[in-house]
Subunit: 209 residues, 2 copies
């Protein structure tokens, strides 16, 4: 009684899928979103166009999934590092230290040359294409932001974050500056900068009276 | 003794220049940066391609100038409003109130449907095209950021901003969140949000011990 799908064919599928992801990300990083086509992805991955259309309805769908897969793998790699973050944001009880760890990891991801091209290309397309942008936000960004909300709520319960601060807004003071600097390339995006953003946001810029 | 350039021909030039700016901005907002061409701008402005090349070396140059002109006009309009900001950021001695005024005006500009299309298109292109991005930052963004630095230094001298805060980093806690929300369309960009960002950034998120 052989299974309907042999281990060999499933391994072949996995290989094709991985080749398609890699081709899609490489292509979008090189020529940008508008000039990336399903034909181009298929040719680069060494599969037929129909193979792609069997699994995904559009180039946007392939890219989104390739990107989610890349982010997953980056997260797994980060978790495997000493002191790495497994699921959710770390909670050692020291809010500033935990946020610095997370923002430094974000800095490393944003500076990663493998991620930079495709991330820029998809972000740029999401900026002008509201529909694609919304999908990108819903599938990729919102789940990440939810992790910040959870960690910030815990900090509120522990009396480390102001009780009247809305965590959903508070997190934007942490990630907005990094995003601005990375996207516009105004100044270098470094660990020291990540630390400063955390210190400034938690401590406040104003002089208390 | 007639002048070498008659008032008529100079008026004609002004009209052509304005038509070219308008056409360039409309086109880039509609079809995006990559598909905007000098030919397309010329056709839409009702001028010959050579008229454009007489004044500008490339489509990037036309667009940059059209955009600078648009920003100048928006700034002039804002200055003409009651309580409008003339040159530099307002300094009434109340840092929080002044920053809220400025960030609310920024919210209005970002939400302006006339500015939104071309601003997104140029920002998106600057994200993937580092050379264009650097020009955009140098000519358009850096002068604006310098105004924040000046205002924040004045606040430091007045004892309203922490003496150990770097104004160039501090300003990113104010504009980074707005930029993030506008560009990614995560949540509505409102005056209330601008106020909250100022309050959170100045007051700090952490609980002082």
């Amino acid at each position: 009684m052989a299974p309907t799908k042999s281990p060999d064919s499933s391994r072949r599928s996995d290989r094709s899928r991985r080749a398609i992801y890699d081709a899609a990300l490489a292509l979008v990083g090189e020529v940008g979103y508008p000039r990336t086509t399903v034909e181009g992805i298929a040719a680069r991955a060494g599969v037929g166009k129909q193979t792609i259309y069997r699994w995904w309805p559009s180039k946007a769908a392939v890219l989104m999934e390739a990107f989610l897969d890349l982010a997953d793998r980056a997260a797994e790699e980060a978790a495997a590092q000493p002191g790495g973050v497994a699921r959710g944001l770390p909670d050692t009880g020291d809010l500033a230290a935990d946020l610095k760890l997370v923002l430094r990891a974000t800095v490393d991801e944003l500076n990663d040359p493998v991620l930079d091209g495709p991330t820029r290309a998809l972000t740029a397309e999401g900026i002008v294409d509201a529909k694609l942008g919304a999908e990108f936000i819903g599938k990729l960004l919102d789940p990440q932001l939810a992790l910040y909300v959870t960690r910030l709520r815990a900090a509120q319960e522990a009396g480390q974050l102001r009780a009247d601060a809305d965590p959903r807004i508070a997190l934007e003071l942490l990630i907005g500056p990094l995003f601005h600097r990375w996207l516009l390339r105004t100044l270098p995006l470094t660990h020291a900068y990540a630390d400063e953003v955390v210190d400034y946001a938690l401590g406040g810029l104003g002089v208390s009276r």
